[in-house]
């Protein structure tokens, strides 16, 4: 069943067109990796899906409902959660308060503070610490945990491993894998192509705002992605 349908989305920042005529379909339970160079439009696409950026054209349909004009907090209440680029935690709030803010979504589900601490045990010791005092990995874990507190059906994660130590990246991906197994649909942006191919069931590569490569992760080779990444071969679907 299609959970998310993105139809010919155009997104602009003033005169700069960041996303050009992008269409995507995400099945329920799928894990999709968005790869591409800096400025390819990946983050903008995620923000447009989450509702923090208003598209200039096109349509976004979530679970059969057109959400293109729906405000971000309402989309969260429908089950779309974004872990934004740079984590964007509330610095003066404690880890626990950061998590609890997200109960504003009023969604029933398995996720509460205890469940998040279960998946990210590294946060347990920092429960009452201000988010500003956390390390990069702890911040990323808190940001993912905060998104999970909304009990999402679709989890969008921007720049999963950026600025994290390899051992922490390992832990974050283990947690994401567990989530996927529990049935959460995940769309993530990842700079590390190897990681993306290993984790996701499907890969979409973007270049200058367009989708230039799309296919199941097991059928796509590193070379194909690299070519598409740099625009060497304008390959279509595999």
């Amino acid at each position: 069943m299609t959970l998310l349908l993105v139809e010919s989305i155009d997104a602009r920042y003033g005169l700069l067109q960041a996303v050009r005529d992008v269409s995507l379909e995400v099945e329920e339970g799928e894990t999709l990796a968005l790869v591409g160079a800096n400025g390819a439009g990946k983050s903008t696409l995620l923000c447009t899906i989450a509702g923090s950026h208003r598209p200039a054209g096109g349509r976004i349909v979530f679970d059969g409902v057109d959400v293109t004009r729906v405000r971000a907090h309402r989309r969260v209440r429908m089950g779309i959660a974004l872990v934004p680029e740079g984590r964007r935690l509330f610095p003066a709030l404690t880890v626990e308060e950061n998590l609890l803010v997200a109960t504003a979504a009023h969604r029933e589900g398995p996720w509460d503070v205890e469940a998040v601490l279960e998946v990210f045990p590294l946060l347990r010791a920092h429960r009452s610490a201000r988010a500003a005092s956390l390390s990069g990995g702890e911040q990323q874990a808190t940001a993912i945990g905060r998104a999970l507190m909304t009990n999402p059906r679709l989890l969008l994660v921007d720049e999963v491993s950026l600025g994290l130590a390899p051992v922490v990246v390992e832990r974050v991906y283990a947690a994401l894998g567990e989530l996927s197994q529990r049935g959460t649909t995940i769309v993530l942006v990842e700079q590390d192509v190897g990681r993306a191919l290993a984790f996701a069931s499907r890969v979409v590569c973007m270049l200058e705002g367009r989708v230039v490569l799309e296919g199941p992760a097991r059928d796509v080779t590193r070379e194909q992605v690299t070519d598409a990444y740099f625009g060497l071969a304008r390959a279509g679907a595999v």
Binding site: A50, G51, S52, R71, A72, H73, V76, R77, A81, L82, P84, R88, F90, P91, A92, L93, E97, N98, L100, V101, A102, T103, A104, A105, H106, R107, R146, A147, M149, T150
Partner: protein, 296 residues
């Protein structure tokens, strides 16, 4: 010993200023709105209580019970209909909007209530005082106001730290866009913040009106005191607001002890001194960090 008396009266007066400044501080802390109509909204609360005591014949304290929910609702509607749009139009627009509101309120009050001076009855507690010695007298009414100010500040502090609305308020104040991304309705949070701010303004306005006479144009002078209390205490800090109110109150009563004419002036001078000290401290720090970058 009359100096001790002046300081005690100043501390008590500070309670009224803190109460008046609370809403101003809250709105600036959450939305970065400098509400120039804050004093006028306080006055609106006082006139509403005046209407109830004059025509319904109830006591001012009973009238207050009716004024507070009306003020909450008025604040909510004010945010949704006017301030929200102003905020979206740019940072400085709310300043203009609230300035316009200040003028509209003053003129409407003059139209409906005439420019005459009024006052609200404060009951038997209004004139009662505790005579500690021949020179020290503590008016119970001012103690009541300070008590209410502390009660309101403690209540707000608990609201901000212990409740979901408080967490949403602090999250939205820090980063409204991200708050929306975790399910917080930022506009709804703003509306509730303004509702609380206007209710505290009305509360302060009614007590102010029980303490001294008021007229339709008393709003701006009250705004100045509230504004000074916020700045002296540190912008956006609730406890700072209480301290700021007390410092301002003490400065005024001690100034008045020297010469009655110095009441307002000494308050303004302390405010100015705090600003200068802050500016020098900030300038000094900048110079130090500059010299560091130069040597590095």
């Amino acid at each position: 010993m009359s100096w001790v008396n002046a300081v005690i009266h100043g501390i008590l007066l500070g309670g009224l200023y803190a109460l008046l400044a609370t809403g101003l501080s809250l709105m600036f802390g959450v939305m970065r709105i400098i509400n120039l109509a804050h004093g006028s909204l306080a006055l609106l609360g006082a006139y509403l209580a005046f209407l109830l005591t004059e025509h319904a014949g109830v006591s001012t304290y009973l009238a207050l019970i009716a004024v507070l929910p009306i003020a909450l609702l008025f604040g909510y509607v004010l945010q949704v209909t006017m301030l929200e749009r102003s905020l979206r139009a740019g940072e400085l627009v709310p300043l203009l909007t609230t300035f316009g509101l200040l003028i509209v309120i003053a003129n409407l009050l003059q139209y409906f209530f005439s420019p005459d001076v009024h006052s609200l009855p404060s009951g038997s507690i209004g004139s009662a005082s505790w005579r500690v010695s021949s020179t020290i007298q503590i008016p119970w009414f001012d103690v009541l106001i300070l008590g209410i100010a502390i009660f309101v500040l403690v209540g707000l502090q608990l609201l901000l730290t212990k409740t979901q609305l408080g967490r949403e308020l602090r999250a939205t104040a820090a980063d409204a866009e991200t708050a929306e991304l975790v399910g917080v309705n930022a506009r709804g949070v703003y509306a509730r913040a303004t509702a609380i701010a206007v209710a505290t303004a009305a509360l302060a306005g009614v007590f102010y009106a029980m303490r001294s006479a008021f007229d339709p144009f008393a709003g701006p002078s009250q705004l100045i005191y509230a504004f000074e209390a916020v700045v002296i205490g540190g912008v956006g800090s609730l406890w700072g607001t209480l301290i700021g109110g007390i410092v301002l109150g003490v400065a005024q009563t001690v100034g008045a002890q020297i010469d009655v004419q110095y009441f307002a002036l000494s308050g303004h001078l302390v405010f100015l001194a705090v600003l200068v000290v802050r500016a020098v401290a900030a300038g000094g720090l900048r110079r130090i960090s500059l010299s560091r970058t130069v040597t590095a």
